[in-house]
């Protein structure tokens, strides 16, 4: 357990009174002010803070949108347009919320690849990693439900395609689908329950985020070198060091978000979703939002429907197992010359699957999709265990101070 260096001293009568009864100020002080944080975290470690900001932004914009949105098939599309046209700054709220979801996923993917690169999931941070994957699953569900709400053509048909997948489950599939839909096809009962769940899940996400940070603060942050913090000189207090560093990263991220929200707010969405849902007219090309495309590619790579659904589930489930699939004792890919190459191959595989997910399922695309799907699983099931066993890691520095300070300086600092 990481112990903060200084204990919280309440400064005035009220805080003394409160803290003696509920030490919430001590908790905040210990977790976000004096919390000892490795001094060598790079900007890839800022994405957790960015994610927290994005969650808050989604909840705030979402709650205001919900004050104007009407979850009924005959009114949903018009109510979203009413927000865009007639609610003061409604266009801003909606564009922030819709593009915010995309940026939330950009941040979570960077956060996850960061974890895979630096071995952040390794002992003693397995539970932290598992909670992270759970957060990702909740985000996917939230975004899927959210995408249905504007009730455009893509909303409707994505809902139809995805809920149909449950029909592939043997024996009980049909009943499950009917139960999920609240009927025999996607209709008002479906929209209503999806709206309810879309409102619920972000708060569950917020709850899991608390557990995630708790699980982070027991062993403390990992770091790019991957060796444990040994001496107090290896760390700096979270405030002001990381409040300013993460703060800078957050503002830069928001800048990029603002460029998209204000200058190309529809670049990340499909034009068909500006056509009201029409159950009688199938779009030429049904595609999910970009952040779900890799899984869509995996789904379609398997020739049988049930097989596709199982592969899709397995592709996410395998992430839970990563802490035990990786056999290497060295955390950071910086010191793992072979794993590092495989890491980048895996990144390219995921980018490739994203692209293939947007292509029609035919000809060369299907073959490429199958190859990349197989490689996706090989990476986890073969590369991670085998490379860990055969690879000879580079020598690790003696302390996390070594790589950041010029030679000689670390000795002086340690002696201080």
């Amino acid at each position: 357990m990481i112990k903060p260096l200084y204990k919280y001293e309440p400064k005035n009568g009220f805080t003394r009174w409160l803290d003696a009864r509920l030490p919430v100020l001590t908790l905040i002080h210990g977790s976000f002010v004096v919390f000892p944080t490795p001094r060598n975290l790079n900007y890839w470690y800022s994405f957790g803070a960015i994610l927290t900001v994005m969650l808050a932004s989604q909840i705030v914009t979402g709650i205001v949108l919900a004050m104007h949105y009407i979850p009924h098939t005959s009114l949903a599309f018009a109510s979203v347009e009413d927000i865009m046209r007639n609610v003061n700054f409604g266009w801003l709220l909606r564009y922030l919320h819709a593009n915010g979801a995309s940026f939330f996923f950009i941040a979570v993917y960077i956060h996850m690849f960061r974890g895979l690169y630096y071995g952040s999931y390794k002992e003693p941070r397995e539970v932290l990693w598992i909670l992270g994957v759970l957060l990702y699953v909740l985000m996917v569900a939230t975004a899927f439900f959210g995408y249905v709400l504007p009730w455009g053509q893509m909303s409707f048909w994505a809902a139809t395609v995805i809920t149909n997948l449950f029909g592939a489950i043997p024996l009980i599939g049909e009943s499950i689908t009917t139960w999920l839909l609240g009927g025999f096809s996607v209709d008002s009962p479906t929209l209503n329950r999806f709206y309810s769940l879309h409102y619920l899940l972000p708060f569950m996400i917020a709850g899991v985020v608390v557990l995630h940070i708790w699980a982070l603060h027991v062993p403390g942050n990992g770091n790019p070198v991957g060796i444990q913090v040994r001496v107090p000189q290896d760390t700096v207090p979270f405030h002001p060091y990381y409040t300013v560093k993460d703060g800078l990263a957050i503002v830069v991220f928001l800048f990029v978000l603002a460029v998209v929200v204000f200058y190309q707010p529809n670049a990340l969405s499909h034009p068909d979703n500006y056509i009201p849902a029409d159950p009688l007219k199938t779009p030429a090309h049904i595609v999910p939002e970009w952040y779900l495309l890799p899984f869509y590619a995996i789904l379609r790579a398997v020739p049988s429907k049930l097989g596709g659904v199982l592969a899709l589930g397995a592709a996410i489930f395998v992430l839970f197992l990563v802490p035990w699939l990786d056999t290497s004792r060295v955390r950071s890919a910086t010191y793992r010359p072979i794993y590092r190459q495989f890491f980048w191959i895996f990144v390219i595989t995921c980018v490739g699957l994203t692209w293939l997910g947007s292509q029609p399922p035919e000809g060369g695309y299907v073959i490429a999709g199958r190859i990349l799907t197989i490689y996706y699983f090989l990476h986890f099931l073969v590369v991670l265990p085998v490379v860990g066993l055969v690879e000879k890691p580079k020598p690790l520095p003696a302390s996390i101070n070594d790589p950041v300070l010029p030679p000689g300086e670390s000795v002086r600092q340690a002696a201080e």
Binding site: V244, Y263, P265, A267, H285, V347, T354, Q359
Partner: protein, 295 residues
């Protein structure tokens, strides 16, 4: 040290590339290579419409009120015979950043339409002159009636048309589109569609009730007959009375109906970016100072 910076830069590049891939993937139509598209809707069976320049494109783009007024005139003289514009209230014709009629002029335009209202205190529906708070009424009672009057093809509501169509640019080029802030695929498409009628190639007779159109997104021929001919709408502001001009004017007008707050959005966006840029500068300076003793 130098190599360290280089690898950092390379990794940063990879992330940007990843993000851009993500961007592209969202608009699937954007990525499909032209040749592969022949059989898919949105992938121009014959020829992609050209890209035009618009007063409202780019960083500081604004609608040209005179153009929007001409576009409204084309809509009222021609398109309105078939297409509804149900999301547009008359009052917005007087809004800042739109066609900027005076409220009196907008009321006069509304007054030219009749709408059904009621029931009155005897329980009867009645018709009355439209007011500023009304939306453009459709001349058809419902979509079925509109389709029936058009050989079974439904003329879609045009309110959002400019955001419901696009001109995809194909796989690597979407990156440049994003960097150029290209968002005008909708109006490019509409103007292209309206000017895309040609004589069919010899031997290729369009089925009855359809018209050969090289820029139609869904097929070789469309159920919409050619509508624009030189001189059919009388402009009073001296603008050329050509098919090209009509098509661009009505496309610009439809961009406004689809995105009525575009001008406000770009203006506010600029202020927000200035603010965030200054904020970044301050945060960067603070971060440097705070970290100086540690580095």
């Amino acid at each position: 040290m130098a190599t360290h910076i280089l690898t950092r830069a390379a990794r940063f590049g990879a992330v940007i590339a990843l993000a851009l891939f993500g961007l592209s993937a969202s608009a699937p139509a954007q990525e499909e290579l032209q040749e592969e598209q022949a059989h898919e809707a949105l992938h121009f069976p014959i020829e992609a419409p050209e890209r035009r320049s618009w007063s409202f494109d780019g960083f500081f783009g604004k609608f040209d009120p005179a153009q929007l007024r001409r576009g409204l005139q084309v809509y009222r003289d021609v398109c309105q015979n078939c297409h509804a514009l149900s999301m547009v209230p008359f009052r917005t014709l007087a809004d800042e950043g739109g066609p900027q009629f005076t409220p009196e002029q907008a009321a006069e335009i509304a007054g030219a339409y009749t709408v059904t209202d009621g029931p009155d205190d005897q329980g009867l529906m009645f018709t009355r002159q439209a007011r500023l708070s009304d939306h453009f009424p459709s001349i058809f009672a419902n979509p079925q009636a509109a389709a029936f009057a058009n050989n079974g093809a439904y003329p879609p509501d045009l309110s959002l048309m400019a955001k419901a169509r696009s001109v995809p640019s194909g796989f690597p080029w979407f990156i440049f589109d994003a960097l150029r802030f290209y968002q005008e695929g909708g109006p490019d498409y509409i103007a292209g569609f309206l000017t895309g009628y040609r004589d069919p190639p010899p031997g290729e007779e369009p089925p009855p009730g359809t018209y050969y159109n090289v820029h139609f997104g869904a097929d070789d021929e469309t159920a919409m007959p050619p509508q624009l001919f030189d001189g059919i709408v009388r402009y009073t502001d001296g603008a050329p009375q050509t098919v090209e001009q009509y098509a661009e004017d009505v496309a610009a007008f439809l961009m406004w109906t689809a995105e009525p707050h575009l001008v406000a959005r770009k203006r506010l966006g600029f202020q927000v970016l200035i603010f965030l840029a200054a904020f970044i500068g301050l945060m960067y300076a603070t971060k440097r100072r705070v970290w100086a003793p540690v580095h």
